[in-house]
C-alpha cells in the first residue's frame, strides 16, 4: 500500500544532503562549526576592495586559486553539494541520476574582467560599445557564449550527474533555494518522478554584485570585525553579509526510498508561497504575504503552529527583514506561543548565501532535527526590545526538534516557507 500524506499525496522524504559554505565543505564540517557558533565571514581578498563601502563577505575561497567567473564557482559549489547528497542517498548510478534537476542559480551576465578583455582586443581606444560587439564577433572568445548563458550552470550539472530531461534553472531571488525544493516536492507528488535533485548555489561575490547591494543600502558596513558583522534580530543589526555556498537535497517518494532500503533523513511535509505586491524590495507593512506564506506551508503539511518546535529564520540581519519576519511570526504563532519557540538564523554565521540560502538552510534544518541540537544566532549581544524572540543567542542548544519551519523571503515579493519533520507521520 502506498504511503500518502494527510492530503492523499505521496510522502516526500530526503535521502541525501550536501552543503558547502564559507565554513567549509561537507555537512560534517559545516554542522560542527555551525553548532560551535563559528563565523565564516572575513575580509574579501578575491578582488581589490579599495573604495568600497562593504569590504567583507562569506566568500568560498578554498576551491579555486585564481579568480574565475561567477558561474564557474556556482557550478563547482553545486557540484560538490550534489555529489555529497547523491553519494549519501545511494540512488541511481554514477552519471545516471534517476530524476529531474531543479537548480536555483544566480542570474548570470558577463563580468568586468571579460568585458575588459573585449575592450583590450578592440582595434582602437577609447572604445565605443560597437567596438566591443566587433571584438565579440572576432571568434576569439567563443566559450564565453555558453558560460554566460543563464542555463549553463544547470546544463553542465545535468550532464555531469545524468539527471533526467531538461534541467530547470530558477530564480526567486533570496527564496530560490526553497523554490527548487518546492518544485521537486511538487513533481514527486504529481507522480512525474520518484526522485528529484533540488539544489541552490551561489558563487557570485564579485565587485559589481557587492556594489549593487551596497547601492540598495542592503549590506552591513561593519567591516572592522567581519565575524561579528551579521547580527540577525539584534538591535545593532545594520544589513546583511553577502556570501557564497550551495545546498543540495535528494528528494524521493517514501515508497521509493523504502523499496530500495534507503536511509530516511527527514520528511518534506509542506511548502508554502505567497507573492507580495507592495514594493520591489520592501515587505507589505501588514505582513500579510509573509503570514500567508507560512500558513500555506503549514496547511500544505497538514499541521498547525502548535506542531512546530523550531523556526529556521530567514533572519538576514537587515533592520527591515528581521522586524517584518517577527511581525509575521507573531501573527501566525501568537505572542505567548512564539515566546516558547526557539528561532535562529544560520546567516549570523555563514552570511546570506542569496540564491543558495533556502537550500542550505533546509539542509541545516534537517541536521537540526536529526542531531537534536539547535545552531545559535551568534552576535546577539544587544537584544531589540521591539522584536522579543528566543533567538538561541550565541550558543547552540540541545532540544528535541520534531518539526521545523524554514523561511525564505526575497526581493521582488518572493516568499517561500518549508515545513520539515524527522519521521514520516
Amino acid at each position: 500500500m502506498a504511503h500518502t500524506d494527510k492530503h492523499g499525496r505521496p510522502i516526500v522524504v530526503v535521502t541525501g544532503i550536501g552543503i558547502v559554505s564559507s565554513l567549509g565543505q561537507g555537512k560534517e564540517d559545516n554542522w560542527r562549526r555551525l553548532t560551535a557558533g563559528e563565523s565564516g565571514i572575513h575580509r574579501i581578498t578575491r578582488f581589490p576592495i579599495e573604495g568600497m563601502r562593504t569590504t567583507i563577505a562569506g566568500t568560498v575561497d578554498f576551491l579555486f586559486d585564481e579568480r574565475v567567473p561567477a558561474p564557474d564557482l556556482s557550478e563547482r559549489l553545486a557540484t560538490l553539494a550534489a555529489e555529497e547528497a547523491i553519494a549519501q542517498s545511494g540512488v541511481g548510478s554514477k552519471g545516471n541520476f534517476p530524476g529531474p534537476l531543479f537548480a536555483a542559480v544566480p542570474p548570470v551576465e558577463m563580468e568586468w574582467p571579460e568585458k575588459r578583455k573585449l575592450a583590450e582586443n578592440a582595434s582602437h581606444h577609447p572604445v565605443e560599445y560597437r567596438d566591443l560587439l566587433l571584438s565579440a564577433a572576432s571568434g576569439k572568445f567563443r566559450p564565453w557564449h555558453e558560460r554566460f548563458l543563464f542555463g549553463s550552470v544547470a546544463d553542465r550539472l545535468a550532464d555531469r550527474f545524468g539527471t533526467q530531461g531538461q534541467p530547470i534553472s530558477l530564480s526567486t531571488a533570496c527564496a530560490s533555494g526553497a523554490t527548487a525544493i518546492q518544485l521537486g516536492v511538487e513533481a514527486i507528488r504529481r507522480g512525474d518522478c520518484e526522485v528529484a535533485l533540488s539544489l541552490g548555489t551561489d558563487g557570485s561575490v564579485h565587485p559589481e554584485a557587492l556594489i549593487r547591494f551596497s547601492l540598495l543600502s542592503a549590506l552591513t558596513t561593519a567591516n572592522d570585525k567581519p565575524e561579528e558583522a551579521a547580527r540577525p534580530f539584534a538591535k545593532n543589526r545594520d544589513g546583511f553579509v553577502m556570501s557564497e555556498g550551495s545546498g543540495a537535497l535528494v528528494l524521493e517518494s517514501l515508497d521509493h526510498a523504502l523499496a530500495r532500503g534507503a536511509r530516511i533523513l527527514g520528511v518534506l511535509e509542506g511548502c508554502g508561497e505567497m507573492a507580495d505586491n507592495f514594493h520591489r524590495t520592501r515587505s507589505s507593512p501588514d505582513g500579510k504575504p509573509i503570514i500567508g506564506c507560512m500558513k500555506n506551508a503549514m496547511d500544505d503539511a497538514g499541521i498547525t503552529p502548535a506542531d512546530i518546535d523550531y523556526i529556521n529564520a530567514h533572519g538576514t540581519s537587515t533592520p527591515e527583514n528581521d522586524r517584518m519576519e517577527y511581525v509575521g511570526l507573531r501573527a501566525v504563532f501568537g505572542d505567548e506561543a512564539l515566546a516558547g519557540i526557539p528561532i535562529s538564523s544560520n546567516k549570523s554565521m555563514i552570511g546570506h548565501t542569496l540564491t543558495a540560502a533556502g537550500a542550505i538552510e533546509a539542509a541545516v534544518s534537517l541536521l537540526t532535527i536529526a542531531n537534536g541540537r539547535i545552531p545559535p544566532t551568534i552576535n546577539y549581544h544587544v537584544p531589540d526590545p521591539a522584536i522579543p524572540l528566543d533567538v538561541v543567542p550565541n550558543v547552540a542548544r540541545d532540544a528535541q526538534v520534531r518539526r521545523v519551519i524554514s523561511n525564505s523571503f526575497g526581493f521582488g515579493g518572493q516568499n517561500v516557507s518549508l515545513v520539515m519533520a524527522g519521521e514520516p507521520a
Binding site: 499525496r9 581589490p48 542570474p107 551576465e109 565579440a136 564577433a137 530564480s171 531571488a173 507528488r189 521582488g412
Partner: protein, 392 residues
Amino acid sequence: MPEGAKRDVWITGIGLVSSLGEGLDAHWQALSAGQAPVTDAERFAPYVVHPLVKLNYDAQIPKKGDQRQMEAWQRIGTYTAGLALDSAGIAKNTEILSRTDMIVGAGGGERDHQVDTAILNDVVSSNDPGRMLNERLLNDLRPTLSLAQLSNLLAGNISIVHGVTGSSRTFMGEESAGVDAVRIGWARIAAGQSEIGLVGGAYNAEREDMLLLYALNDFCMTGEFRPVFSGPQAPGIPSGSMGAFLVLESPEHATARGATPIAKLSAVWSERARRDEAGSVSAKVRDFLARSGDAAVLSGATGARGVTEAEAEALKAAGVPVRSVTNRIGHGFEAQFPAALALAALTVSRGPLFPALAGDPVETGESKADRVLVTGLGHWRGEGAGLVEKIG
C-alpha cells in the same frame, strides 16, 4: 480533486506583442494576409532584428514611476501580462489574482552601454584598475539598476502592477525557461495542484548586450533577413522583440466563472537530446511528431546552426503542414515558446492554417489546423514541444 489525477487544461487568456503588432486580432490579420515580416537590418547592422511595434505603456502600466523602475524587457513583459489578464477577464479581479500562480521565463541584464563603455575606457587606461572599477561603479550605477536587471523582477513587477500574488516563480535558461514555465504551470493545473496560472515571457531584441552574447559564438543572423529554413545551412538567429503570456486554467474553474476557452493545451514536453550525438535532435523532433499524430506544426526553430537543420530534416520527412514562428516575429529566446503557443492557440481558434512564406521550402501544406504541434528547440540546449487543440 486529488493531486496526480489528470484533467484538461484550457488557455483562457492570451497577451501577445511583437513586431507584427499588439493583440490577437492584429496578429491574426497579419498572419492570414501573409504579411512580410517586419525586420530592421540597419539599426544594429550587421545584425538583423525584428523591432517591437510601438506600445502605449501607460495603458497597462499606469504609473510612470513603475515604468521607470523597469528595463525594456520587463516593461514589455509587464505590459503583455496585463493584456493576457484582460483577455482572460480577470484583470483587477483581486480574489482570482490572489490565487493565480505565475511562472515567468526570464533573462535579465540590460546594461547602460554608455556607462559601461565609459567605465571600461577608464579602467583600461588606469594604473589602479581595481580601485577605479570600484569607484566608478559606486558612482555611476543607478541604485535601482540591480532591480531593473534581476531576472525575477519581471514577475515582481507583474505582481506589483497587476496584483498577481498567488505565487511567483521565475525560470531562467533561454528557450527552455519559456518551455518549462508553461510545462510546470500546465502540469500543476492538470494534476490539481493549481486552478489558474499566468505563464509566459518577454524579450527585448533591440539591445546590443544580448547581440554581443550571441555574437560571441557567431549565432546572430547578419546581412539581410532570410527565412530560417531557406538554405542548406541555417541562416543564424534573427532575434525579435516580443512579449507573450497565457492564462492557463482548469475547465472547472473557467466554467464556474463563465470564461470562454480559446484553446486546449493538451501536452507540453521538455526534453534534452545529447547534442553531441549525431541525429539526436532529429530523433527528438520525430518523437514529438509521433506523439501528436497528424497535427500541423508551428515551428519555433531559432535559425541557429545545427539544431535548425536537424529540425528541418525531421519536419520534411514527416510531410506535415509546417509554418515557422521565427519567419514572422523573429526569435525571442525565453519568450519564443509562449509566443509560439499563443499563435498556435490563435490558429486553432480561428483557422485555417495561415499561408506559407515564400522562400522557405519547409513551409508547405494546408490544414484546417484543429491541432497544432509547437516546437521549441533551444539554440544551444533543450528540446521542447507543446500540443494545442481546438475546443468544441
